[in-house]
């Protein structure tokens, strides 16, 4: 079997699955993104049972499994819990981001869970766990998570 390709070229078929999706954001994410877009404010939901403030906001508390939630505003400043730096231009990285791309897990003041987002305006070697960072909003906001452009260190 090992010489079955002798003298012939193995055949390869190029293909892709390309299916458009329309994600309905639902009332919770819609409200979060409208507030972010129009007021440049980051909001979260607080569980009336356990008191946890969840960001990204959820309609249902995943611990308590109840929908006893109220909206609260959280700070746009917080603490960096951990981060990663892409050294390679991985296929998933958006075209407008150039390596090194830094992502952080940021716990904003007033929230009990952390948000994934970019860190920018800082060199990778200057980033450290525990550093204080603040949200920088995008000039043009379209109601997406990228209405926050990135987080930058608080000087």
């Amino acid at each position: 079997m090992s010489d079955q390709f002798q003298g012939i070229e193995p055949m390869v078929y190029q293909s892709q699955i390309n299916v458009p999706y329309s994600w309905w954001a639902g009332d919770t994410a819609t409200r979060f993104f409208v507030t972010l877009r129009d007021e440049k404010k980051i909001t979260a939901t607080k569980c009336g049972d356990c008191g946890k403030v969840l960001l990204p906001p959820r309609k249902i508390c995943p611990r308590c499994f109840t929908e006893n939630m109220e909206w609260v505003k959280v700070s746009d400043e917080g603490t960096l819990l951990t981060f990663a730096v892409a050294g390679r231009p991985f296929a998933a990285i958006p075209a407008d981001k150039k390596v090194p791309v830094i992502w952080g897990l940021i716990q904003l003041d007033g929230a009990d869970t952390a948000l994934l987002h970019y860190l920018d305006g800082v060199r990778p070697e200057e980033v450290s766990i525990g550093m204080r960072v603040r949200a920088v909003y995008s000039e043009v906001r379209k109601g997406t998570i990228r209405d926050i452009s990135h987080f930058k260190p608080v000087k």
Partner: protein, 381 residues
């Protein structure tokens, strides 16, 4: 409670690119090897569980396409999406259900045919996270840093996992990347996603594995001495990264506790002889071992440095070379399971460890180890 045993295993060689085999050809090879290993024919198989992922296969309803190659014609066939250990769990419950006595479980992946960064990016929440462009490697880099920060585990200790496992693979003819390397080689390899170097990461791989699980009433009817399932459990943590303590794996600690309780294991450090754990990235081997109580908190790196996880150490970990030496994503856990089964049977060849009465297998599903499946296998019922 009724008992189940693993009575046959079959694996293809793990390779970077299996250009001479389609995914179905790989499944056919693995299934036939498992049947031969068990001394069974297809007629002895009551039902089939395949493990596959539509994205890795590049087709929808992918389980239906692999049925023929898994010998499922005219049999009840079902499918699990995720790691092979979860397929095996479902397969075991079917063998214990009373409706079936024997289950053939397969898992396959041809990583060489697609783009893992895009596939794993699609595991992120489409509304809040996906457009940021993270994938499995960058997600795990984040977890690696969090673990290293909390435990003071060093880059050198991570590198030593790679050195050990690639070295072990030299003794496993099925492994894709047998290599004699040094800590320095790992640290000098490309920093693909800081703090993970290229040699901290498992490769892109093609491979298929099959295991046969039997109810106790028929487990001793065939060729192999059964390897008994003494305990098994799986648990999942929160989906969102920011809801978890990434430096830990709470769901793994929970799954291990339950599996130990079921197996009657009181002191895992003493009672587990051999372990195959999910080392898709070097830090994971250390983090998972700590969470399963096979090393003290923040001390796995030190146990590793003392050679305690080596092939000739008191607790050989990934003696087969692990996933760092070949990582067909969906099949991964079945390869780990097959490696432990062979250890317990004394059939592991070059990577056979000295004492292998009780073995542990761990499989992972989800970004940064959201969910874990832990098995305790044993020579004795």
């Amino acid at each position: 409670m009724d008992r189940a045993a693993i009575i046959g295993v079959g694996m293809t060689k793990i390779e970077k690119r299996k250009i001479s085999q389609t995914f179905a050809d790989m499944a056919w090879e693995a299934v036939n090897k498992a049947l031969t290993d068990a001394g069974m024919t297809l007629d002895d198989i009551d039902n089939v569980v395949t493990t596959s992922s539509d994205f890795w296969d590049g087709r929808t309803i992918s389980c239906m396409a692999v049925g023929d190659a898994s010998g499922a014609a005219h049999k009840n066939i079902s499918c699990v999406e995720g790691d092979g250990t979860y397929g095996a769990f479902y397969g075991m419950t079917r063998a214990l259900s009373g409706s079936y006595r024997t289950t053939l479980v397969t898992g396959h992946t041809k990583g060489s045919e697609s783009v893992s960064s895009l596939i794993t990016n699609a595991a992120f929440d489409p509304i809040y996270e996906r457009s940021l462009g993270m994938d499995m490697i960058t997600a795990c880099a984040m977890q690696a840093r969090s673990y290293m920060h909390r435990t003071k585990t060093t880059a050198e200790q991570l590198a030593l996992v790679s050195v050990k496992n690639h070295g072990n693979a030299l003794k496993n003819p099925l492994a894709q990347l047998p290599m004699k390397i040094t800590v320095e080689d790992v640290l000098k390899s490309e920093m693909v996603a800081d703090p993970l170097h290229k040699l901290d990461c498992s490769p892109v791989s093609d491979g298929c594995a099959a295991v046969i699980i039997a109810h106790e009433s028929v487990a001793e009817k065939f060729r192999q001495k059964p390897v008994w399932v003494r305990g098994v459990s799986f648990c999942a943590d929160s989906f969102f990264f920011g809801d978890r303590d990434l430096s830990r794996a709470r769901s793994l600690a929970q799954a291990a506790r339950k599996a130990y309780a079921m197996a009657g294991v009181h002191d895992p450090k003493k009672e587990i002889d051999v372990a195959e754990v999910s080392d898709a990235f070097t830090y994971q081997e250390l983090l998972w071992l700590e969470e399963m109580g096979l090393a003290d908190d923040a001390a796995a790196g030190k146990r590793l440095e003392r050679g305690e996880f080596n092939l000739d150490g008191p607790l050989p970990v990934n003696a087969s070379g692990g996933l760092l030496s070949g990582h067909p994503v969906i099949a991964a856990g079945l390869y780990s399971m097959a490696a432990v089964v062979r250890q317990i049977r004394g059939d592991a060849g070059g990577f056979q460890v000295q004492k292998a009465k009780t073995g542990l297998v761990q499989g992972v599903n989800g970004l940064g180890g959201q969910s874990h499946c832990v098995w305790i296998l044993d020579k004795d019922k």
